[in-house]
């Protein structure tokens, strides 16, 4: 048996064999690619297990909840309590969100709804530049420029005007929770902007046109159509930014003062989970000290995994999985 292909007679068996091996090759190809795709899942599981195993000694010695609730961090006498770091991380991150959210969403609304196309096209790369500047540069700028500004201008102003609140009392050092929060806000605002802009651009134009046709103003259209439609995606972008803030290390380390204390005043120096790992990891001489630091990394991992998962779910719900 033979068939003619382009004037050449080829035995039928040859075609069959070739087709069979081609199909097999495709299967092998897909399998190999799949292994690499799956390796990412393996990586995450490995990461979790590895950190859990290395932090077990600390959890065993101190008890999981006592480790989290403990307020004393004294490596010399082997007492490890993570609460001051958890407190610092949460306070700075939420304060940063408080500053960054209105600015980020406002900018996103401007880019998506108000800005002319040419302006949007030149502003968006700038926002991406802001996201591309390394953390350590923000820290450097924070130490030498922002911190004196906070100590000499912003903090005295706040304590004069809002000094009746316990958050704004104390000596304006320029190094502490508030400065860290401001730096964090600058760093996370690009994430809110880029994701929110993307989500807002998925609002169907006919819905907005309908509003304008009814005589609605720009703000009414944003408030009644764009924002409700994009709500869950914008919320997702804010939570995504929260995850960034929780894990941000270098810039915070350089401006928060690195003092493990729980203080009501935002002017006081504090410490965060990421910062204590960065500062003390190479100094950890004993196994229990090292294990306690890995345990903090493990808790940080769990928190950010949870926050990220929620954020992704919210964003995917609005824009659809891409």
């Amino acid at each position: 048996m033979a068939v003619e292909i382009e004037g050449i007679f080829v035995p039928q068996e040859a075609i069959k064999v070739e087709r069979k091996s081609a199909v097999q090759a495709d299967h092998v190809f897909k399998f190999v690619l799949g292994v690499f795709a799956f390796s990412v899942v393996v990586l995450l599981v490995w990461l979790g297990i590895q950190l859990y195993i290395s932090s077990l000694p600390a959890f065993k010695a101190l008890g999981f909840w006592d480790f989290i609730k403990g307020t004393t961090w004294d490596p010399v006498s082997g007492v490890f309590g993570a609460l001051p770091f958890i407190y610092g991380t949460i306070v700075t991150s939420f304060l940063a969100l408080l500053i960054a959210t209105p600015l980020g969403v406002g900018t996103a609304l401007f880019l998506a709804e108000l800005s002319p196309k040419w302006l949007k096209r030149s502003l968006q790369p700038l926002v991406e530049l802001l996201a591309g500047i390394p953390s350590v540069i923000y820290g450097l700028w924070g130490i030498f420029i922002l911190s004196p500004l906070m100590a000499n201008t912003v903090e005295p102003f706040l304590s004069a005007r809002l000094g009746f609140l316990p958050f704004f009392r104390g000596y304006p050092l320029g190094i502490g929770f508030l400065t860290a929060a401001v730096i964090l806000a600058i760093m996370i605002v690009p994430f809110i902007i880029s994701v929110s802009t993307e989500v807002l651009s998925t609002v169907p134009t006919p819905l907005k046109e309908g509003m304008y046709a009814l005589g609605a103003t720009r703000w009414e259209t944003m408030k009644k159509v764009a924002l409700p439609y994009a709500r869950s995606g914008i919320f997702g972008s804010i939570i995504l930014a929260l995850a960034r803030a929780l894990g941000e290390t270098m810039a915070v380390t350089m401006v928060i003062g690195n003092t493990p204390q729980i203080s009501k005043s935002l002017f006081d120096p504090g410490y965060t989970m990421a910062a204590v790992i960065a500062n003390e990891f190479t100094e950890a001489t004993s196994d229990s000290y090292l294990s306690a630091l890995v345990a903090i990394a493990f808790i940080l991992l769990l928190i950010t995994l949870l926050v990220n998962a929620v954020a992704r779910w919210l964003i995917w719900r609005t824009t659809g999985v891409k």
């Binding site: 690499f36 700038l126 703000w219 009414e220």
Partner: protein
Amino acid sequence: MADLANDGRKVKGSKASSAGTEFSGIGFSYWRRKVTSGFFTGLFSSSVLIVLLPLLLIIGYLFFKGASSVNLNFFIHRPAPVGEAGGGMGNGIIGSLFIVGLASLLGIPVGLLGGIFLGEFPHNKLSTVTRFVADVLNGTPSIVMGVFAYTVVVLPMKSFSAIAGGFALGVMMIPTIIRTTDEILQTVPLTIREASLALGVPYWRTVLSVVLRSAKSGIVTGILLSIARVLGETAPLLFTSFNNAFFSYSFTQPISSLSVQIFSYAISPYEDWHRQAWAGALVLVVGILAVNLAVRAFSRQKYEQTV
């Protein structure tokens, strides 16, 4: 179409109660509505300025404080002791490139091949899971990756090393490259694949020589952007590649990096070192921005050519 109709109903339904009150007094409050709208428009426009102000300040100060200390010595010398002139961060610059090179050896192949799977089989269950995990990994703090690399590489080797730093950064590159490759391959039209398959080209060959070729510039862009991102990373290097006062080209020895040097100089008490830190920061940022701008110009040019 069905989707659109659905979405319309959702918004209308959820806001029906308040919409009634909003428009009840149209004639009466016309000017007030105009002014309110103008107020919010102004607010959103000014938030853009507030957001971009720090960018301006940071770039401005980098040049103002750093430019005077950037000279030839800075690029070719290793750090000098405090008080001695003529030191530089040459070892840090080479170290950074060395570590990022190692990271690319891990990050690019894994990210690329995994990304091809996601882009070619987008609705596969494994793809959905991997996509989610990659996004989550992307948001994992870099310091956690550093601790991971420490327990996996540094502890067994009993020494800080360039490999450990490369591993930490490589792991961070994987999810970024996977996701950009994934998104770009999904934009390659199905008809291109069909045309190739119709010519009798096996599927694997179609992907490698037709799909990848047409997505090449996008994929390269994604890879370069992920390199630019890890180039400035500091936290994962603090206790993996550590630091080194000398030039080092060894895989198994601690190695200096520009970002770690900027950090240790910035927190030092010496005026001299602060100047060096600013200079290092300027070089680092200009390097990263150059990669970013080049990539952007390159991909836009490509895009305009093809469309």
